[in-house]
Amino acid sequence: MTLHAYLLLGLALFSLGLIGVLTRRNLIALLIGVELMMNAASLNFMAFNRYVVTDPTVGQIFVLIIIGLAAAEVAIFLSIILRLYREYRDIDAEKLTELRG
């Protein structure tokens, strides 16, 4: 396994996530896409940490922070989705256009 393999995997994950975020209409699916992108970033961090930087702590700290952040983000995102659902009975991103100009 080389660094390139990890990076390619990360790229694939990130692209999948991005496609999900851009194309899916369901907010939950959007959330999944975002999570995928974050994981791709974490994977990249770990790969670089393993192959480039000698100090093992640097990348791991970032990844830990990302995991923590992702957990918090999911909590907030889900609660927003819940509120939205109660308000509009819908979680379709295309229909939630209250903020249009």
Binding site: V21, L22, A93, T97, G101
Partner: protein, 610 residues
């Protein structure tokens, strides 16, 4: 008492009376009336004492200075101001007493009397003013007071309009005066009247003759406005909308007299200017004739008197412009007395019979009011210039002066105007004294028709009109002029003209079989012209008023459509641009995200390539 305290008593007592009445006594009209009357009496006595003390040096105090301008507040104590100050105080006093009867039932008496007091204060202060700007200030205040008094019955639209007209027309004149005053200041840096008049160092030595002509002409524009000379005369007849005592005051000793008095004050300047006297002579003579012709055909007693004032003011200005200070002052004083008398008489008639129409007053028995009718006849005779009453000597002086200086055309004009004066005055007298038929007089009044507080002033002024004519010598003495005694032969033309006028009036109105239409009605075109007051008012309404309104409308259009409209359009366009651009903001967050990524990608690529 020293001169200063006397002066303060004379000029400021009416002011304090005005303030006290207006601030503290709004709800107590009787108390207000008393306060104002007291103030007027104090002022009268002080002015008489001043007069008896004789002319002295002016008093001056610094009012303020700004840059090169020094403004003083002071009093001038020469012949004209002492005499005329006393006349003003006297006539104001008479009219106030008279008003207690005339306005007895008016609910707004406090306002009336306080305004009279304001009027007295400003006029007296104007008369004694030593400084040209000080004089201008009080000149304007005189105008203000007359604005309030003419529009006293402001609920009548005609009164309100008359007040507005008076204010605006005199204001037009004041613009000229103001420019003239400022030009004087610019040329000399001083406002002090005695200094300006000084023949060695005064204004006439400091400016070119050309400038002096301009300055005097501009000042004369102000005089035209105030003293109602053509073409700024039309406000004065309308001003009859005020209460009759106010008309009496306005026409005799205050408002209109202010104009003439200003000319008396600055007489040497006018004489030093080149073309000005001729211009004044032309305008005044024309005015005198014009006003007389209208007075010939008007049926309203107050209007007749108003036009006669205009014409007599013309006479005063003629006398002054012809070079005789004495003639002007003399006629101003005699006119003040007999015109006040005539207006007060007309007020009694109007009060008693509730009509302004002379023929109706006659038919309802006007001549039964003995004291009033005596006053009317004496006053009328003085106005017509019947010897030896007041008006005769002063008018004679004017003719003599015109003849002396060779102004023959103007003299002819003045004689013609004098003839007309005699005619319309006696037309008025005959219409009242010798009515064509008698009607039942409906007596609405519970009180007497001639109450004492109205009759008293009339009788006092009647005596005044009888005797003032003989004081020419004393007046001349006060002015430091030697009055020439004219031979009887020189007076003959004047007497003849008056006699013809009276005779024609007798033929037209006085005989028992008279037609009572006036000879002028045989000449249709002229009659129409006179009845319509030479169409001057119509011309003003049709041209000047409309022109002003049209310009205002044009400006208004420019404001709303041109300036404001364009700014609004600018704003709206910006707003529209904003509205259009918000379409990008459609609320689809995935689209935003896509755009973000695309743009970031492009930026990343760009950076990567660089």
């Amino acid at each position: 008492m020293d001169t200063l305290s006397l002066l303060l008593l004379t000029t400021f007592t009416p002011l304090f009376a005005f303030l006290i009445a207006l601030i503290f006594l709004l709800q107590q009209p009787r108390a207000a009336q008393t306060v104002v009357l007291l103030g007027s009496v104090v002022s009268l006595f002080a002015s008489i004492v001043l007069f008896l003390q004789g002319p002295t040096e002016p008093l001056r105090f610094l009012w303020f200075s700004s840059g090169n301008i020094q403004l003083q507040f002071g009093f001038i104590l020469d012949g004209p101001s002492l005499m005329f100050g006393m006349v003003v105080a006297l006539i104001t006093g008479c009219i106030m007493v008279y008003s207690t009867g005339y306005m007895a039932h008016d609910p707004d008496k406090t306002r009336y009397f306080s305004m009279l007091s304001l009027f007295a204060w400003s006029m007296l202060s104007f008369v004694y003013a030593v400084d040209l700007l000080q004089a201008f200030i009080f000149w304007e205040l005189v105008g203000l007071a007359s604005f309030f008094l003419i529009g006293f019955w402001y609920e009548k639209p005609s009164a309100a309009n008359a007040a507005r007209k008076a204010f605006l027309m005199t204001r037009v004149g004041d613009v000229g005066l103001f420019i003239g005053v400022l030009l004087i200041l610019q040329a000399t840096g001083i406002f002090d009247i005695p200094a300006l008049l000084n023949p060695q160092t005064g204004l006439s030595t400091q400016v070119s003759p050309h400038t002096l002509t301009w300055i005097t002409l501009l000042i004369f524009v102000g005089i035209m406005g105030k003293s109602a000379q053509f073409p700024l005369h039309t406000w004065l007849p309308d001003a009859m909308e005020g209460p009759t005592p106010v008309s009496a005051l306005l026409h005799s000793a205050t408002m209109v007299a202010a104009g003439v008095f200003l000319m008396i004050r600055l007489h040497p300047l006018f004489m030093a200017a080149e073309t000005t006297p001729v211009v004044i002579l032309t305008i005044s003579t024309f005015t005198a004739i014009l006003a007389s012709t209208i007075a010939m055909v008007d049926t309203d007693i107050k209007k007749v008197l108003a036009y006669s004032s205009i014409s007599q003011l013309g006479f005063m200005l003629i006398g002054l412009a012809a070079g005789s200070l004495f003639a002007g002052v003399f006629h101003l004083i005699t006119h003040a007395i007999f015109k006040a008398l005539l207006f007060l008489c007309s007020g009694i008639y109007i009060h008693a019979y509730e009509t302004n129409d002379m023929a109706t007053i006659g038919r309802k028995g006007g001549r039964n009011l003995k004291a009033t009718t005596t006053g009317l006849v004496i006053g009328g005779a003085a106005l017509a210039g019947i010897p030896p009453l007041a008006g005769f000597f002063s008018k004679e002086e004017i003719f003599a002066q015109l003849g002396h200086n060779g102004f023959n055309i103007y003299m002819a004009g003045a004689f013609f105007a004098a003839f007309l004066t005699a005619y319309y005055t006696f037309r008025m007298i005959f219409l009242i004294v010798k009515p064509d038929r008698h009607e039942e007089s409906h007596d609405h009044h519970h009180g007497p028709l001639e109450p004492l507080n109205m009759k008293g002033p009339v009788m006092l002024l009647t005596i005044g009109a009888l005797i003032t004519g003989f004081f020419g010598g004393q007046i001349a003495h006060m002015l430091n002029i030697h009055a020439e005694h004219h031979a009887l032969l020189d007076m003959l033309p004047a007497i003849a003209v008056v006699a013809i006028g009276v005779f024609v009036a007798y033929l037209d109105y006085g005989r028992s079989q008279a037609q009572r239409t006036g000879f002028i009605s045989n000449i249709g075109a002229l009659n129409t012209l006179f009845v319509n007051r030479w169409y001057i008012d119509s011309f003003y309404n049709a041209v000047i008023v409309r022109l002003t309104l049209a310009i205002a409308a044009l400006m208004h259009w420019f404001e709303t459509h041109g300036l404001d409209g364009n700014f609004d359009r600018l704003g709206l366009n910006i707003l529209r641009t904003g509205t259009q651009s918000t379409r990008v903001q459609n609320g689809l967050m995935q689209l935003y995200l896509a755009w973000t990524i695309i743009i970031l990608g492009i930026v990343a690529l760009y950076i990567g390539m660089a």
